[in-house]
Symmetry: C2
Subunit: 243 residues, 2 copies
Amino acid sequence: MFGVTDVLPPPPWKKPRRAPSPAREPLSADKIVDAAFKVLDAEGLDAVSMRRVADELDTGAASLYAHVANKEELLELIRERVLSEIRIPEPDPARWQEQLRELAFEIQRAHANHRDIARLSLGNIPVGYHALRMGEGMLAIMLAGGVPPSVAALATDRLALYIAADSFEGALIVARHGLDAADASERFQARLKEIHDYYRTLPRDRFPTLTAHVEELMQADSDERFAFGLDMLIRSLETYVRR
Amino acid sequence: MFGVTDVLPPPPWKKPRRAPSPAREPLSADKIVDAAFKVLDAEGLDAVSMRRVADELDTGAASLYAHVANKEELLELIRERVLSEIRIPEPDPARWQEQLRELAFEIQRAHANHRDIARLSLGNIPVGYHALRMGEGMLAIMLAGGVPPSVAALATDRLALYIAADSFEGALIVARHGLDAADASERFQARLKEIHDYYRTLPRDRFPTLTAHVEELMQADSDERFAFGLDMLIRSLETYVRR
DNA sequence: GCTCCTGACGAACGGCGTTCGATGATGTAC
DNA sequence: GTACATCATCGAACGCCGTTCGTCAGGAGC
């Protein structure tokens, strides 16, 4: 015949056929998470909406719900994938403190690699595979180092909280001070300078201690603060070993 | 005359006078924060929207913007008021560890008194009066105890982060497991039981450490966990004093 | 060739923070 | 006492959000 369907424009009273649906390859939870990461890494966590992720896949938000129960579940999948990037060392009893430190930095780095994803890091009881892998690794290192099990169990919980909290705080700063990472750091430095100056103008009689130690309070950058708190926790763990 | 304006119904073609605006007493930032607390304490942080708060004052959301720049500023006022409930002890060198502990619990309690308000507690550089008061108090206690200033400065930062993080985590649980506090606790216990059972079904070969110590991991309630982490931090501070 | 099922997905619902512009009351200047 | 300028008030609207509903196309099974 004459291939009329391709030549004639569609009559206006007939609704357009919705999209080139035959050429469409099917969605999947994995593809949705891929798209979510593209949005996350390019525009930050706030941009990760069902609509925006669906857009990335050239479809509508409603289509996602066939593969993902709701946004909460999508975020859980994202969290798990972030944790999957973490390498966990084989416990070496002689180096247990150092290994804890390495693992902590590894977790922090994994979060920092994905913009402000650490805003999801708090308040999640570990149930996913990679979250459990993390807990297993941390606990194993402590036990190998001779920390008593009941202490190690609690310390794992507290250490995980501390790491998540620090990452969370960093992520908030990234989220609040512009989307571009370099730009954010620059703006944050400027903000810190403001705070520094502000602290110097505080009334000395009302805040004697604070005003007397402004320099000490502002001296460390965020990595140093993280390392210091980490050392505090590990240092105190040592006191449980030596007895 | 005859007081006609009060007797006759308003003619339908004349639009109603918008509200009994003469009897209306003026809004203020303080009244808005009051209303916000009413909503917060009754329905939780998620219910604190500009519309809902305005509703509480029998007005529209737009009216709030004359007294408060935006929602962020309203939340800041709320945070400050929560911190204002915290009592700060006069530093006593002999009891510095104990005083730190008391202050930490005081901060936690102030947050817990207002539902899931602690979800705002992280990532705020202290600039408000009460936030500074808190920092001043914590730092003064440490210095009185003989902690070197450069250590005390960092430790104040880390301790504040820890306290905020723990409260935050607690608030997330409250927010996620129903609005009523008693109900939330009950549901959370049930959830913990589920997790406990789940941990027991984990493959022993992949998670040998975790499965071997399920009981230790689940033994402590949230107050005990908080106290333990607090002790870890204070304990390590002691190691900086004794030299 | 027909039916049934399953993903896809446009449209809509009810929420959100915020802005705009009209409306009215109030205080000041003359 | 009147006119005017100023400012809080607030309904309506904008553009987001997560989620649900009902329709529809395509393929599988018969």
